[in-house]
């Protein structure tokens, strides 16, 4: 089988790449190969599928009609097991091969399992695919108690949804506070307090020493000797890029696939984008920035580059970013939270009321902003960071009212 463009994967990076290719090249044969058996969906939606708020067939990002209308061959249930760049070919689990002219690897990431004694001997859940979500939803229907290992976004979403389903939930996190990738301890404390108020036990800064099966229960033992018994164990301790199938291909990898500012790998005609790619970090280095808007942007750049679009702009660098809703409240984080020399921090808010704001500036430019129950436009804050907009003349106004000042600034400079 041959296709001029082959995209491996079917989530945000893959879909935006396909859209971008079709924008430039209406006719070149374009094929999406994906391991998943379902129509394209977002991993971000899965906690809502678990809670029942979203139905699996109602979260489809592209329909069969879309693929037909845009002459894209969508091939689900297809695992790519090896890439041979010298032959421009892919080998599938079925043994079949595909020839490509240009290849995009957008295979995303898979759950990373922590080195916990006994973990492989007990039944546990993860949450990265639609099938995981459907399994977990069924399990929740039968469970009365649960342990969530990991207080990242997926773990926290899942814990909230299980608590709402009247399950006794315990969250265990190795880091000293929840959502440590996005929020500082003071902000996390507000979020943790909300979880505690909703009956969720939060064990932060705790190492899980071992898990074992006891009848129908899973018995977890923490490093300090505390034991927790639960019907259900959900492991959400982060993800790692799906790059195992590239072994021996010559495609350069570190944590993820190393790419340049056009998402091109070290080998001709091979690109990578999204959670699998390791690209320029806005503040230096090469990073895997596993967030949805990042995948969208990288996918689009890769697609345009693959179709030889003359106007493709280089990737400006990954900026951590997230918007997080919990128990009807909103937390937003854009840019860096941690500090280093020369940074100026402005913190405000009424923590007792769950209101928090932290602005980090350096050399008159925004470096990071995090808020809880204090809405700021993440898109505008992101642009102010990317454009290195000089805020020195409006610094006081920005610190006092980042939402209004940001909107005023962007409405003048967006052109």
């Amino acid at each position: 089988m041959h296709s001029e463009y082959i995209i491996v994967g079917s989530s945000h990076a893959a879909l935006e790449a396909a859209t971008a290719i079709r924008l430039i090249d209406a006719d070149g044969t374009l094929t999406l190969l994906t391991r998943d058996a379902h129509l394209p969906y977002s991993p971000t939606i899965l906690p809502y599928v678990v809670s029942g708020r979203s139905q699996p067939d109602n979260v489809v990002l592209r329909s069969q009609a879309y693929f037909r209308d845009n002459a894209i061959a969508f091939v689900p249930g297809t695992s790519v097991v090896a890439v041979d760049p010298a032959q421009s070919s892919l080998r599938l689990a079925s043994g079949a091969t595909w020839q490509y002219d240009r290849l995009l690897i957008a295979t995303g990431a898979a759950p990373m399992l922590p080195p916990v004694g006994g973990l492989t001997k007990v039944p546990f859940h993860v949450l990265r695919s639609m099938d995981d979500a459907i399994d977990l939803r069924q399990a929740i229907g039968k469970a009365r108690s649960a342990i969530v290992l990991g207080a990242g976004l997926i773990g926290m979403h899942a814990a909230e949804n299980m608590a709402k389903a009247k399950i006794a939930v315990t969250v265990v996190e190795l880091q000293p506070h929840a959502l440590s990738g996005y929020f500082e301890p003071r902000a996390s404390a507000i979020i943790e307090r909300t979880f505690a108020c909703n009956g969720i036990r939060m064990f932060m800064g705790q190492t899980l020493r071992s898990v074992e099966r006891q009848g129908d229960f899973c018995l977890a033992t923490l490093a300090d000797g505390t034991t927790i018994a639960a019907d259900l164990l959900l492991v959400c301790t982060g993800v790692k890029p799906n790059i195992g199938f590239l072994h021996g291909s010559g495609i350069e990898v570190d944590t993820g696939i190393l790419v340049d500012d056009w998402m091109h790998t070290n080998l001709p005609n091979v690109w990578a984008a999204g959670d699998v790619a390791q690209a320029r970090g806005f503040w230096g280095g090469k990073v895997v920035n596993g967030i949805l808007p990042n995948a969208v942007e990288q996918g689009r750049i890769a697609g345009l580059a693959m179709a030889d679009d003359a106007g493709v702009m280089p990737f400006p660098g990954a900026v951590p970013l997230n918007t997080y809703s919990f128990f009807g409240q909103q937390a937003i984080s854009v840019g860096r939270g941690s500090t280093c020399s020369g940074m100026e921090i402005a913190e405000s808010g009424v923590e007792a009321d769950g209101i928090y704001r932290r602005i980090v500036l350096k050399d008159g430019q925004l470096v990071g902003i995090a808020t809880i129950n204090d809405f700021v436009d993440a898109g505008i804050m992101w642009q102010l960071i990317l454009r290195r907009t000089d805020l020195s003349s409006v610094k006081a106004e920005f610190i006092a009212n980042p939402q209004l000042t940001g909107r005023q600034l962007m409405s003048q400079i967006w052109r």
Partner: protein, 450 residues
């Protein structure tokens, strides 16, 4: 061709920040007078800058849609609006990370994101704006309706740079279509090659080069012959103001009086622009032309222009209207009526055609000059038929000073302050007179039946 969409236009310079649009939006979208519910946000002036706004741009490459993990956001292929489906939205706010305009934001009052939906094509904010700072631009529907229709003129017509007459005749004939016979008396339109050049013809439809004096009557006769042989064609005259107001007037007047079934379009560039810029009967007071020069004795034309379209209403022919190429939707509406009318009676369209070459303004400014003619009330857009009388189609209640229009144009560069105020006075009087006519017409019209 792809779809084009209607859009909201914001004129920052006209906005005084009153906030009526936000109140109207809150009322329309949340039944509340609290501006916090508004989806359009006027931003107060920041350090001396102009007022700006935060509003959904209904992007063609909407990153909010791309960032949506639930499929709740989508670009509507018919309306162009970014639609939000409440049933699918999970409140993750990732859409807000994709927007640099604060066009989709979390609204704590309602507990989810909110964005402008253009009120299903009838935006409340636009109707509430007292300063015309917000406009709902719907001209895209013209493109959608006509872009795929065949252009009835060939490429390479030799009009001057910046000429809007070429634009006008191409637009016009797209709507009229191929079942047509066209008369074009001497003037710029034949001069640019529509009736032929180098043994070729510039038109793809039957066209003849009438005399200045006989266009309307000859066209009416040709139309009668088509009727006699059973062909239903539209008879169209594309004439200049010389061929209409001066030497051509007796035949136009006669055809109008008989209500001959023709569509007569006068393309008014205020003089004989293709023969050396001589003055005509519709050249305005004060204009420099080669026959009304500026020197020791004369300061441009000494007499007033005659109001030709108004004269045409006095003939009681079936339809008379004025139009400007800066207001194409208005023109298309009038042209559509005129084509229909011309099946049985005479339709007269008077379209203004500012001439970069003869009036001396940069060729890139033509549409701006057209726009300013209307905004200053130098010309008025109206239509007339014997049953309904005269009605404004684009009333300008707060016109800009006519001096703002005059200063764009070289042929008025010599004007003294007295001459400018004279022209302003004439414009005011002309509008007052037209307004009286509209009031008379309104009084005569029967009250609408409920």
């Amino acid at each position: 061709m792809g779809n084009c969409f209607s859009t909201l236009q914001f004129h920052a310079g006209r906005c005084d920040g009153c906030g009526d649009c936000m109140t109207a939006c809150a009322q329309a979208k949340a039944n509340s007078d609290d501006q916090a519910y508004s989806r359009i946000r006027i931003l107060p002036k920041a350090s001396g800058e102009s007022v700006e706004l935060a509003l959904c741009r209904q992007c063609a490459d909407p990153i909010c849609v791309m960032n949506c993990p639930s499929g709740a956001l989508s670009k509507n292929g018919d309306t162009g609006v970014i639609d939000w489906a409440e049933s699918k939205c999970v409140n993750c706010l990732l859409c807000t990370a994709g927007c640099a305009y604060a066009g989709i934001v979390y609204a704590p009052e309602v507990g989810h994101v909110a964005k402008c939906d253009l009120c299903d094509g009838d935006p409340a904010c636009v109707k509430a704006c007292p300063s015309e700072a917000l406009e709902y631009r719907t001209a895209a529907r013209i493109f959608n309706a006509y872009a795929d229709k065949e252009d009835m003129f060939c490429r390479g017509l030799a009009a001057c740079h910046g000429c809007n007459s070429e634009l006008l005749i191409r637009h016009t004939m797209r709507m009229v279509g191929p079942e047509v016979v066209v008369a074009a008396p001497p003037g710029c339109i034949p001069g640019m090659g529509t009736v032929g050049y180098n043994g070729q013809t510039g038109a793809k439809v039957p066209i003849f080069h009438s005399l200045l004096t006989n266009t309307a009557t000859m066209l009416a006769g040709v139309k009668l012959q088509y009727n006699r042989v059973g062909r239903n064609v539209t008879a169209v005259a594309l004439a200049g103001d010389g061929g209409t107001s001066d030497a051509g007037f007796q035949s136009v007047s006669g055809a109008a009086e008989r209500n001959d079934p023709i569509l007569f379009i006068c393309v008014d560039n205020e003089g004989y622009m293709n023969t050396g810029m001589q003055s005509s009967g519709v050249t305005p007071y004060g204009s420099w032309t080669s026959t009304t020069p500026v020197g020791g004795q004369m300061q441009g034309k000494r007499t007033e222009a005659k109001n030709l379209p108004l004269i045409m209403t006095m003939h009681n022919c079936s339809y008379v209207a004025t139009a400007s190429t800066a207001f194409l939707e208005d023109y298309y509406a009038k042209l559509e009526k005129a084509i229909e009318v011309a099946k049985t009676g005479m339709a007269y369209l008077h379209v203004y055609a500012p001439c970069p070459t003869g009036w001396r303004f940069p060729s890139a400014m033509t549409t701006q000059v057209c726009r300013m003619q209307v905004r200053t009330n130098f010309i008025a857009l109206w239509e007339y038929d014997p049953g309904n009388g005269l009605q404004f189609t684009h009333p300008v209640d707060r016109p800009e000073p006519v001096a703002e229009y005059l200063k764009l144009i070289g042929k008025y560069r010599h004007l003294s302050e007295e001459q400018v105020s004279h022209i302003q006075h004439t414009v005011d009087e002309k509008i007052a007179y037209l307004r009286q006519l509209t009031q008379i017409a309104a009084a005569r019209r029967p009250a609408p039946v409920h």
